[in-house]
């Protein structure tokens, strides 16, 4: 760990009127680390992500995104965000949707186009650049949304259940895709989900939360398929994918498949499940 953490949360509280949504959250996401937030509905995981994105203000506590206050990070476009709905603008073509963040920030047409082409290549939708979003399936739309989030080359990717509305098969394919993209771009990811296997397969660390008030119950090691750069306090050499950080070996869907059948995967699932149960008592 040389650079500043992608996200640093210290003693974050959030109240909506009488509802105590988040209670004393301390969490650090390292640069390039993949961290999932998991927990039952109402545990504040989405709220936490929205606080990092500066879409919501914490009632108390300190939030730093890449060493800056969230507002500054948002204005500087230090993060990219993807929501549960793809939220594409249907009057723009797929490429124009990917370009949107750059367009908003006044990047020239040629540069925008080049970046969009590159990103659509990355998410495997190059041939749909000129299509309308309505001509794409849900999974493809979500890939466009991820490409859009990546457009300003953010160091941090915030994802709020981006695969929540997809069927299981598409979902698994998208997870493999996301892992590959995260590795290729070197972006840190904060990922909200309520699927245990999803959290485990994607993450370096899985943050298990409990509801009312939203607290972190436990932090469990995930499959570490990403870069596996152990960050923050998470120890352990339980990496299945790879052990040295710098090396960029190909990570194909088959590797992700293998992991889904590995002992580490099931052990991590059990650990997360137990942590979730503990939080519910």
């Amino acid at each position: 760990m040389t650079e500043a953490g992608a996200v640093e949360l210290t003693g974050v509280h959030k109240r909506f009127g009488d509802v105590h949504a988040l209670d004393g959250i301390d969490l650090e996401v390292g640069g390039g680390e993949f961290v999932s937030l998991i927990g039952p509905s109402g545990c504040g995981k989405s709220t936490l992500l929205r606080i990092v994105a500066d879409l919501e203000q914490p009632t108390d506590g300190e939030v730093l995104v890449g060493g800056k206050p969230p507002r500054r990070a948002r204005l500087d476009q230090d993060y990219g965000i993807a929501f549960q709905q793809a939220g594409l603008l249907e009057w723009r073509t797929v490429a124009e949707n990917v370009e949107l963040p750059l367009h908003v920030h006044g990047i020239g047409r040629a540069e925008r186009r080049a970046r969009a082409t590159e990103l659509l290549e990355l998410v495997g939708l190059a041939e749909f650049a000129g299509s309308r979003p309505s001509e794409l399936s849900g999974g493809m739309q979500q890939r466009v949304a991820i490409a859009r989030a990546l457009a300003p080359s953010p160091k941090l990717l915030l994802m709020d259940e981006p695969f929540g509305a997809l069927d299981e098969m598409t979902r698994e394919r998208m997870q493999a895709e996301l892992l590959r993209i995260a590795r290729e771009t070197g972006a840190g990811v904060l990922f909200v989900t309520h699927s245990i296997p999803e959290a485990v397969v994607l993450s370096d660390r899985v943050v298990v939360m409990s509801p009312r008030p939203g607290r972190i119950t436990e932090i469990v090691d995930g499959c570490r398929l990403g870069r596996g750069m152990a960050a923050g306090g998470a120890g352990g050499a339980g990496g299945v994918g790879k052990d040295s950080a710098g090396e960029a070996a190909e990570l194909g869907p088959a590797d992700v498949e293998d992991v889904r059948e590995s002992g580490t995967f099931f052990a991590a699932i059990t650990a997360v499940r137990e942590a979730l149960r503990k939080g519910h008592e």
Binding site: G87, E90, E135
Partner: protein
């Protein structure tokens, strides 16, 4: 309306839907019904010896359409021109007012009740007043009447469209640190286009009605409305009906043009 017919191509995208509506198989029942009604009308008039002032036979009306064709076309062009000019002015006005109302709360609260009140103004009340104001040798009074009639639906539709921003799009623009103007440019204005087009489609035939009715209150005698009242006053009932038929055709033309523009502009959209 865009429900796929039996001849629909499997897997065709939604863009194809409007075209399907124009398939002959969907149109002929309506055409056949229209012809049947005309035949029945003719029979009733001939067999029942209905007097011409009550109801002329379709054949007589058709004869008048043929005889008066050289008059009907320029007359319809005058009324159509008034309707079009008023439609354009009212469309722009309604849209601009709606954008201003959406961008400033104070302005919105000032202008919205006024525009909605304008919808309650009967055009028959405005037409004579405008004719006196601007004189009877100009088309301006008719165009103004049309513009007033058109402004309201366009304003209402545009205002609704501008208000309906999907929450996910609003959040996205916040996350992208977009300025209010950028939000308008990238999300609100383009998002409102289908609503604006619906307003235009509803306003187009209304513009023709307003243009014709406005002619009943004096001014130049060169449009369909004045021809209808003149023919009726001269007991030339079949001729009056010939101009009524031309009015119907003009109204339909505007309706179809509005529909076409709406479909062209909102092509490829799901909403």
């Amino acid at each position: 309306m865009t429900r796929p017919g039996p001849a629909a191509v499997p897997g065709a995208v939604s863009v194809e839907a409007p075209r399907r509506a124009w398939r002959v198989t969907r149109v002929w029942p309506a055409v056949a019904f229209g012809i049947a009604v005309l035949l029945l009308w003719e029979l009733v008039v001939v067999i029942g010896r209905v007097p011409a002032f009550l109801l002329p036979a379709p054949s007589a009306i058709a004869g008048q359409i043929g005889a008066q064709f050289d008059v009907i076309v320029p007359t319809a062009a005058v009324t159509g021109g008034n309707a079009l000019a008023g439609l354009a002015a009212g469309f722009v006005l309604g849209m601009v007012l709606a954008v201003l109302a959406a961008s400033s709360r104070v302005f919105g609260e000032l202008v919205t009740p006024v525009v909605l009140a304008a919808s309650a103004v009967p055009i028959v009340a405005l037409a004579p007043v405008f004719t006196t104001m601007f004189g009877s040798t100009t088309e301006i009074p008719r165009r103004l009447v049309v513009a007033v009639v058109v402004t309201v639906p366009v304003f209402v539709a545009t205002a609704r469209g501008l208000r309906q921003v999907q929450p996910v799009h609003a959040e996205l623009m916040t996350a992208l640190a977009a300025t209010p103007w950028q939000r308008a440019r990238f999300v609100r204005l383009p998002g409102a286009v289908p609503h604006v087009m619906t307003g235009l489609r509803l306003a187009a035939p209304a513009a023709v009605i307003a243009a014709i009715v406005a002619e009943y209150f004096g001014g130049l005698q060169n449009g369909l409305g004045s021809r209808i009242s003149a023919a009726a006053a001269n007991t030339a009932y079949a001729r009056a009906w010939a101009f009524v038929a031309a009015s119907i055709a003009l109204g339909l033309l505007f309706h179809l043009a509005g529909l076409l523009v709406e479909r062209l502009v909102t092509r490829g959209r799901t909403a």
